[in-house]
Subunit: 517 residues, 2 copies
């Protein structure tokens, strides 16, 4: 078999089930090999950011790596922003990136570039084998790297001749490095802090925000009074009625510090002590209040979930966690639509088991609280701050979980970065409802300009923050990509449209007009 | 003044007139400074690939650098593919990329990344100053680097505190390194080769494809019988009636080698001896036929234009160049539209002084010959092979040349990469007509799969090459971005629509349906 087939067989044998792809000439043998190997689905994206974001979403929901297939340095370049988000989400992923044949690389052809340099910006692991006989083993190493705790970005650069050349040998991928056990002394310190009786909080991320680990955190909270927080932009959070409630760390630095005020100890699980999203003149980067000690129970490489279970057995053996009540917010019956009203309606309509991909920025942030008592759901956040992740994440989540509804929250600025995701949603008949909050501005930047003390925006500055002139018609854009769309600017219309969209198979875009002249 | 203002003043004083921007929080002080400094226009793109491609188009038409304003590593990441194209186009450009404040960089905030590593993938020059007092001088160095021959990508990474901090000092940018003079011995060798009487060709790129340098090449051709070639994907070519005709190097390796068959000497000006775009099993990378000597008259850093003038004085003192006659192709009166017919009609309708941004791939390539005798125009090609340059280039070219019509040729695959460019065309009222050839496939890849010997495409492979299911409606997409659109699937309709579009102020999209069930 050729090298390409050995790569795809190695992936399929290792249980990599999906390849999100935007291939070019140098990847044609890999495309051909996917055709000849059973068990790997290929999903086309029309832009590489869709591909990498989808692989991220797939991994967040399954814990398993998807493969991506990308075209040389520039194709990888287009996928870097969402690989950055994926890296911050600590997910497993195996990127296959074609390169010129080894003998061709020394020439300055149009697409000649240092593919490994592109890869290194976001990858934990990069290799570029040069023989067809080596690529199978390299693929196995890539899978192992991807599956190493807590989840890693592995990028395998494949010169075209290693794909087309004969002598490919599939290899068996090992399991990757598991999370390290938390040391006993650290567990002891955490136990002591929780028993001391002073105000304590746990800041959780990764597996600690799901399943029995989250329940364990809830038991600890119930027994000790500890508060539970998650990062502002966690990769994935289980939330809603019947789930252990977790406070989301506020986005604004001062609000975060205020939220933590008075704590004796902040116990950190799978993350770091909170830092500001951006720095601002005269404001601190570290948000932990003066006088609060930080105890890192588990780093991201350590088994924070197991540590929480152990801690719960010790300090809360019989405790029953407080769970969020099924409590829906009120919503106005009608009137001009606002982001707040839309979030209230969403909370009331959200189906059980929904996955919410939240890139709604200013619009979704303020209404986040309304979903606390909605039907149980998962939330995926913009982990790396690189706008353009919301709709691709939804693609991957929907491919991973075909029986669940996905709801994407987008701003009208953020929705423009990887709009092409809608086409893949249509082609794959994915059950995704995308709510685009139309406020005709980079509203977050209008806030930010004020926050950084950038003065009052003059006409040129304003022109970089305002999205009108011309207005973007998201319904027209959606239809152009084969997705049906509804525009709503009243509460009643939005409520009706959302209800219908959630009943409709396949993708729908709801333009939520929250800007009223 | 703060650092940001010193940056913008330095740029404006150096004659940098336009900033293509997609800023974020860390660039707000730069946005604010642009507002306070006269003489710099800011043009917003809704995606970074639009921004960098527009700066490329601007530089190709003016020879001058535009500035770009990009948001940290991931924002720069989204712009890398078109920076790759710009690097291969050998244009000047100054990228301003915000970074976290210096004191914030050591924290793992969501957007923390190695911005310089992103920049290094495509930049000839990268600096990240750490003091407000330094950023003015660093900006001047960036401009000098950008203006160094033949045109360089300079990326200035600006930590937020260097922008907001006081003590900014504007600096005066020098001229950059000019092109080196071609050595006398090389000129002598070229002269001798041209006088020897055997078959000779000149392969031209850069300034050699424009103005008096191109005329000089034409005189040499007239006097010596030398043939004139340009690279398949030259940055810019003056073409049409009354211009010196230049043969475009064929895309396919075998065709290129055949085109050069029998040459005694290939004289290379501002480029390299031709190499294959991609490598294929068993096919050579170098396309110069066996037995043809290659003489590099001028590298890209050398003054090939001056060398051509000198050479023309020596070997063709009285020669009059042959110029392309004003000769329009015939076009069918009606019938189902084909790519060939569309290119014929375009040739007949093209207004004098038009700028053609050619990313039409298979559709535009085969009809390229039809424009040989059209009204004089410039052509901009996809220099780096990174799809998604055509519409952004048109933005930059139209900003650079407001009195000229721009025509963009797009495939229905390629148009999806940086579609957001249409919105900027609408906002800036740019006179751009975009022809999207709708064949519902990555047609170039269907060819490539056959070429690489990848076998007959099975169902999964085909699914990565076909764009139907769902069909993309480019008219709907254009209208969604504020651009009027017309769909034509007959020759007569296309002719009428093109004529009208070329008379209409502002952007228009023509969907040229060349796929007929």
């Amino acid at each position: 078999m050729n090298g390409a087939e050995s790569v795809i067989r190695t992936l399929a044998d290792a249980g990599v089930r999906v390849c999100f792809a935007n291939p070019g000439t140098s990847e044609m043998h890999l495309v051909d090999a996917i055709d000849r190997v059973d068990g790997m689905r290929v999903v086309l994206g029309l832009f590489e950011g869709v591909v990498t974001g989808a692989a991220d979403g797939y991994a967040r929901m399954t814990g398993e790596p998807a493969a991506t297939l990308l075209h040389l340095g520039p194709g990888l370049g287009n996928g870097l922003a969402n690989l950055h988000n994926a890296r911050k989400a600590q997910v497993p992923m195996v990127n296959l990136v074609g390169d010129h044949a080894t003998a061709h690389q020394r020439f300055e052809a149009p697409l000649t570039a240092d593919v490994q340099a592109f890869a290194a910006t976001v990858s934990h692991w990069v290799e570029e084998p040069v023989l067809s006989s080596e690529v199978g083993a390299a693929t196995a190493r890539a899978v192992e790297a991807a599956r190493s705790a807590p989840g890693r970005i592995a990028t395998l650069v494949l010169p075209a001749d290693t794909a087309w050349g004969d002598g490919g040998v599939p290899a068996v991928a090992g399991a990757g490095t598991p999370p390290a056990a938390v040391r006993g002394a650290v567990l002891d310190a955490a136990r002591a802090a929780l028993r001391r009786g002073g105000p304590v909080a746990l800041l959780l991320r990764g597996p600690a925000l799901r399943g029995e680990a989250l329940v364990a955190a809830g038991r600890i909270a119930a027994a000790t009074g500890a508060r539970l927080f998650c990062d502002t932009f966690a990769p994935r959070l289980e939330r809603g009625a019947g789930r252990v409630p977790v406070e989301r760390m506020p986005y604004r630095a001062a609000d975060a510090t205020a939220a933590l005020a008075g704590l004796q100890t902040l116990i950190v699980v799978g993350t770091q002590a909170p830092v500001a999203f951006f720095s601002y003149p005269g404001q601190p980067s570290e948000l932990t209040p003066e006088g609060t000690e930080v105890l890192v129970l588990a780093t991201e490489q350590e088994d924070g979930a197991a540590a929480l279970l152990e801690l719960a057995s010790a300090v809360a053996p019989d405790a029953v966690p407080r769970l969020s009540p099924a409590q829906l917010p009120t919503a106005p019956a009608d009137g001009p639509l606002t982001a707040d009203a839309a979030m209230r309606i969403l909370a009331r309509r959200l189906p059980e088991g929904a996955i919410v991909s939240d890139e709604g920025l200013t619009s979704a942030y303020s209404g986040y609280a309304h979903l606390a008592g909605a039907a149980p759901h998962d939330v995926l956040f913009l982990t790396g701050g690189a706008i353009g992740d919301g709709m691709p994440l939804a693609v991957g989540a929907a491919v991973a979980c075909p029986d669940r509804r996905v709801v994407t929250l987008e701003g009208d600025g953020s929705a423009m970065y990887t709009l092409q995701a809608l086409w893949t949603q249509a082609r794959e008949r994915l059950d995704v409802v995308t709510v685009v909050f139309v406020n005709r501005a980079y509203a977050v930047l209008e806030e930010e300009l004020a926050w950084v003390g950038g003065g009052t925006a003059g006409p040129k500055a304003r022109s970089t923050l305002e999205l009108g002139d011309p207005d973007i018609d998201y319904s027209s854009l959606a239809r152009g990509l084969g997705v049906s769309a509804v525009r709503a600017d009243t509460v009643a219309d939005f409520d009706r449209a959302l209800a219908e969209a959630l009943e409709t198979p396949g993708p729908v875009v709801l333009e939520a007009v929250v800007y009223h002249d």
